[in-house]
């Protein structure tokens, strides 16, 4: 297991190097506009552009440019996202500052939503599978269909209109200045974003759990469990679910990791200053250091999520062994 972890960690680093290289090549080789020219504005002199270019390091050979950015990705104090390189070409705010300010918002949003969709999706899936073809099952599957089909932005506005504007049950969107993320969570400002973000996932998980459990309940070992004289409850919850939920763990790890890299639509509609908003703005403004920062952050979460899921599998499924 130790060797396996070391090998996987090295692989994770390799993935991040490749991602950073590709990101760099895409944004340097295919520039939408010259960052130096954008920085100095319209009315300027060629010398100013030249100075800006030198300040951004754009006059250096391409591998030196990459090396500057790569060095800033090494997680070491002083190096990590260092402000000599990692600042916005647009407003010169350091990338580190933006990411650290916005990350808690995205984490609160993604983690909270993931708890909601697990608490909604899995029980619905179980009930549907156990009472297959019943009214409950059909109602749940209609819910699942709606949940998967409803676009997030539509749902978000619907929620805002209904629960904030019309009924006044929920607080308005956004986080007021001076309020920390934790305070916002306590004030219930995340409840609507969580529900909206979680709904599609809950629907998807309900369908997946239902499908898995129905398939598992047809396995030979379930027949054996029944032949032992176990109660149906025990057959379902101890023998059926144990096998049916294992693949769900994989999905969960990857879904949550994906969201931690930014949740653009939900963040935008609910006016939450998270990573997703920042990433999209950075891309539109061809703001390379910011793009690099958020891309690596997203890639890191996905790679870490995959690793954790694989490690968790060794504990969940005795047939899986790592060497």
């Amino acid at each position: 297991m130790g060797r396996y972890l070391i090998r996987r960690t090295l692989f994770l680093i390799l993935v991040l190097v490749v991602v950073s290289l590709l990101t760099f090549l895409i944004f340097v080789k295919l520039p939408a506009a010259d960052p130096a020219r954008r920085a100095v504005g319209r009315a300027t002199t060629p010398e100013n552009v030249e100075n800006a270019r030198r300040a951004f390091g754009l006059d250096k050979p391409i591998y030196v440019q990459y090396a500057r950015f790569a060095k800033g990705l090494i997680p070491w104090p002083g190096l990590f996202l260092n402000e000599d390189v990692y600042y916005s070409y647009g407003n010169f705010v350091p990338v580190k500052e933006e990411i650290f300010r916005r990350l808690p918002v995205t984490v609160a949003l993604a983690v909270g939503a993931s708890v909601v969709w697990v608490l909604i999706g899995i029980p619905i899936g179980i009930v549907s599978a156990v009472r297959r073809r019943s009214l409950t099952d059909r109602a749940a599957m209609v819910f699942a269909l709606l949940g998967v089909s409803a676009p997030v932005f539509w749902l978000a506005y619907l929620f805002l209109y209904l629960f904030w504007f019309k009924l006044g049950w929920a607080p308005s969107s956004g986080i007021p200045i001076g309020t920390t993320v934790l305070e916002a969570v306590v004030q219930g400002r995340f409840i609507m974003p969580w529900l909206v973000l979680a709904l599609a996932f809950a629907a998807f998980y309900a369908r997946m759990v239902r499908g898995n459990l129905i398939e598992t309940m047809g396995e030979d070992y379930i027949r054996t469990a029944r032949a032992k004289g176990l109660s149906e409850r025990r057959v379902i919850y101890r023998h059926g679910l144990r096998a049916a939920l294992t693949p769900v763990v994989t999905m969960f790890g990857l879904d949550l990791a994906g969201l931690l890299g930014g949740v653009f639509i939900t963040e935008t509609v609910f006016n939450l200053p998270g990573i997703g908003q920042y990433a999209v703005n950075a891309i539109f403004n061809n703001d390379f250091p910011s793009v690099m920062g958020v891309t690596i952050l997203g890639a890191f979460f996905i790679a870490l999520g995959t690793l954790l899921v694989d490690v968790a599998y060794a504990f969940l499924d005795p047939r899986v062994r790592y060497t």
Partner: protein, 338 residues
């Protein structure tokens, strides 16, 4: 015959499907004495497994229309409430299945799966249950049972898994063990070991055994009685000698002739299968269900369902042929080729 342990009377199990009613089991009756070994032989889809899954209560009213009586130790199992049936299942009647690879839960240790069965029916501590589980593994011939109990099914070979399944099935000392194709998924060498093990444990535990198989060769040495099923009905029943040396039904002849011979004279002979396919269980042929495949068919076979009639005290067959013809054809067509 002493008081039967299990008596099945006119049992039918019909599955409603979108294509029509599948008559998987269609009016079978038989009895099983305590300590007896019964072989149930037939092709896939002859209803042999479904009959005994119904005896186990593993096919429910929700899935199928079940009629008839299953009297076990004086109780009609079909009338028992679900909870009481659960007390019978696994404790007084237990069952092992065809594929030991998939019949054990892959996520739980073998010992734990056996002690779970024990603790379902006996109020004992986990420690005691585990000791009993280890003891069962030892009795079914698994070496180092104490270590093996803590292993997962994937660490067992196929034969070992089937041994563990047998251990689990016998852990509550049942009066009846149903073995549904217990050796089909195993290597030939392991097959014999498993059947010998069942024979030995049957003596030790004093249990009656039902061996369900499609292979007449398998049940030859191990069964007292044999019944042959076709299209949901019993078409011939008798003791071992009746079936092997005096078979009365053309389908049984077909089964006997299709056992490959491995001696000198058989070496150059072609395999001798029963021609045709098993019938649809939705549109069962009228008259004798076997008539479209029967080489001895005559008019009556197409019109009238033959009853299972005893030729003497114990040997019964469901065929319209006259007894003399049956005996003659059997000698000419089956025995002569052995």
């Amino acid at each position: 015959m002493p008081e039967p342990l299990l008596e099945v009377r006119d049992l039918s199990v019909h599955f409603p499907t979108d294509d029509g009613l599948v008559k998987a089991v269609d009016g079978i009756s038989f009895a099983l004495a305590p300590g007896e070994t019964l072989g149930v032989v037939g092709e896939s889809g002859s209803g042999k497994s479904v009959s005994f899954l119904t005896v186990m209560g593993l096919i429910t009213e929700e899935q199928a229309q079940i009629e008839g009586e299953i009297v076990f130790q004086g109780q009609d199992l079909l009338k028992l409430p679900v909870e009481e049936m659960r007390n019978v299942r696994g404790a007084r009647i237990s069952m092992i299945f065809q594929d030991p690879m998939t019949s054990l839960h892959p996520y739980y240790k073998v010992g734990a799966q056996i002690s779970e069965a024990i603790r379902t029916h006996q109020k004992i501590s986990k420690q005691e249950a585990r000791e009993q589980a280890v003891e069962m593994l030892r009795r079914v011939g698994i070496p180092r049972p104490d270590e093996r109990a803590d292993q997962y099914p994937h660490e067992f070979s196929g034969g070992m898994r089937q041994r563990a399944m047998i251990g689990m099935a016998l852990s509550l000392n049942p009066d009846l063990l149903i073995a549904d194709e217990p050796t089909t998924a195993l290597d030939v060498t392991v097959q014999a070991q498993i059947l010998d093990l069942i024979d030995r444990l049957k003596q030790e535990f004093n249990a009656a055994v039902v061996i369900i198989t499609h292979d007449l060769g398998v049940v030859a040495e191990h069964c007292d009685h044999i019944q042959v099923m076709y299209a949901g009905k019993i078409i011939e029943a008798g003791d071992r000698n009746d079936i092997y040396y005096k078979a009365h039904h053309p389908y049984t002849w077909g089964l006997l002739s299709s056992i490959p011979r491995l001696d000198e004279s058989g070496a150059h002979e072609r395999l001798n299968p029963i021609r045709g396919l098993p019938p649809s269980l939705i549109f069962v042929p009228p008259g004798c269900a076997f008539h479209p495949r029967c080489p001895h068919v005559f008019d009556k076979c197409r019109a009238e369902i033959p009853a299972l009639l005893p030729a003497d005290g114990h040997h019964a067959s469901a065929c319209h042929l006259a007894l003399e013809d049956k005996e003659r054809i059997f000698q000419e067509a089956v025995m002569a080729r052995r």
